[in-house]
């Protein structure tokens, strides 16, 4: 663990990274890698030196765990679903499903059976991942530390890899449905002939429209990441206060996050629906 506040903060913001170090790399303890191989990074420097060939085990593990929890719960209800009087769990699931169904009905007018379940997955998954943030910042890392893991960050949405991973998925769907609905020429026309409908301005249009397109996944990912990361940093800063004073800030901030957590999940879902709706519509 860390000693100074700066180290403490840096430590809490570092993911548990499992990646490839090249032969000849000098480890944190002065030893040198005899041959290239996969290992856990013991320092932030090592983690960043691993480059692209690395995995954030904590991010991936917790996000998959939350996804499995979501699907397990919903599948459990789906197999036992009754058209009569629903139980508490089925009620909860149905309320969520109906909420998403209404969102999609309001925002998405084309016919596509993928959109509503996609939105449901995004909403509940992100909500569950964000909720992990309400677990006090030291609990799980301490347990992980006791098990010999140097770093452990449990909130996947504070890792840009996770948020970009999802927004790239959405981006690919936007491209796919744009091509499917409008055809290659229709999509090309939309990129080239808008907003200025003149052949001489096609390059300008292309730059503008492609920018608009690219900004969609970036704004999705960065909004979620930024909110969650900033909130996490504040939680870590509060954790640096003396024990008797922590609750004065921790409690209001956590209560505030009861609002922020579903709000961010909702915004990601809503924007996904809106983006995919515009991919289905001719402009």
């Amino acid at each position: 663990m860390a000693d100074t506040p700066v180290e403490y903060i840096k430590h809490h913001l570092q993911n548990l990274t499992y990646g490839k170090l090249d032969a000849g790399y000098e480890r944190f303890d002065g030893s040198v890698m005899s041959e290239s191989g996969w290992t856990f990074a013991r320092t932030a420097q090592e983690a960043s030196d691993m480059g692209f060939m690395a995995i954030h085990v904590d991010t991936l593990g917790w996000s998959i765990a939350m996804g499995v929890l979501f699907l397990g719960l919903f599948r459990f209800v789906a197999t036992r679903v009754t058209t009569g009087v629903p139980g508490a769990l089925q009620n909860l699931v149905e309320v969520t499903v109906e909420f998403i169904e209404n969102l999609v009905k309001d925002g998405f007018h084309a016919r596509n059976p993928l959109i509503a379940p996609l939105a449901l997955t995004i909403f509940v998954w992100i909500l569950l991942m964000n909720v992990l943030k309400l677990i006090p910042v030291d609990y799980i890392p301490s347990i992980a530390h006791a098990m010999g893991l140097e770093y452990f960050k449990i909130v996947p949405t504070t890792d840009p890899n996770a948020t970009f991973g999802m927004s790239i998925g959405v981006f690919l769907l936007i491209i796919f449905y744009s091509l499917k609905v409008k055809g290659v020429t229709g999509f090309a026309k939309e990129l080239g002939m808008q907003p200025f409908n003149h052949w001489a301005l096609i390059p300008v249009n292309l730059v503008l429209e492609i920018l608009v397109l690219i900004v969609k996944p970036i704004s999705l990912a960065l909004r979620l990441f930024g909110n969650m990361y900033a909130g996490e940093v504040v939680f870590i800063l509060i954790a640096l206060l003396p024990l008797w004073a922590q609750w004065t800030l921790n409690v209001p901030w956590a209560i505030f996050h009861i609002l922020v957590i579903p709000l961010q999940a909702f915004i990601f879902t809503m924007l996904t629906i809106v983006y995919l709706a515009s991919a289905h519509e001719e402009h």
């Binding site: 913001l13 998959i64 996804g67 979501f70 789906a78 379940p117 997955t121 890792d159 970009f164 991973g165």
Partner: protein, 156 residues
């Protein structure tokens, strides 16, 4: 905050979760919700229909009651009229019968009077003849004098 393979891993997980949700989670839940919605809608419309039916039935019952009352009133009316008629007719009959009886009695009395007079007359004629025989001391030839006797009898 390094961008690395986690990005791709997350995208793959995302794709798998969405696929699973599309295939195994969404359809059964929405199907059940739709089925329940339909059931409730049917129940509501059945209730509406039932209350409408009830209203109609009540209206019909009231109508029938009204009709029955009217019918019974007219029946009573008719019966009264008929009874009056019967009484009237029987009165008439009785009067006629009485008159007839009186008439008969009168006729009988008349007849009896005539018979008695006739008998008396014959008797008187016989008596007259007998008296005349006594007076004349001879018998009267009834044949010879029958014309005269009849005339006498008729005069009596």
């Amino acid at each position: 905050m390094n961008i690395n393979l986690t990005l791709i891993g997350q995208s793959i997980a995302f794709a798998i979760f969405v696929w699973f949700c599309v295939k195994y989670v969404w359809p059964p839940i929405t199907a059940a919700m739709e089925a329940r919605q339909k059931k409730i809608a049917e129940g509501l419309s059945a209730a509406d229909r039932a209350s409408l039916d009830l209203e109609l039935a009540q209206e019909k019952a009231a109508q029938q009651l009204h009709q029955a009352k009217e019918e019974s009133a007219s029946l009573i009316d008719q019966a009264n009229k008929r009874a009056a008629q019967i009484v009237e007719a029987s009165k008439d009959d009785a009067r006629k019968e009485g008159e007839k009886l009186i008439e008969q009695a009168r006729a009988e009395i008349q007849q009896e009077r005539i018979q008695a007079r006739d008998a008396l007359r014959t008797e008187v004629a016989l008596l007259a003849i007998a008296g005349a025989e006594k007076i004349l001391e001879t018998s009267v030839d009834a044949k010879a004098h029958s014309e005269m006797l009849d005339k006498l009898a008729a005069e009596l």
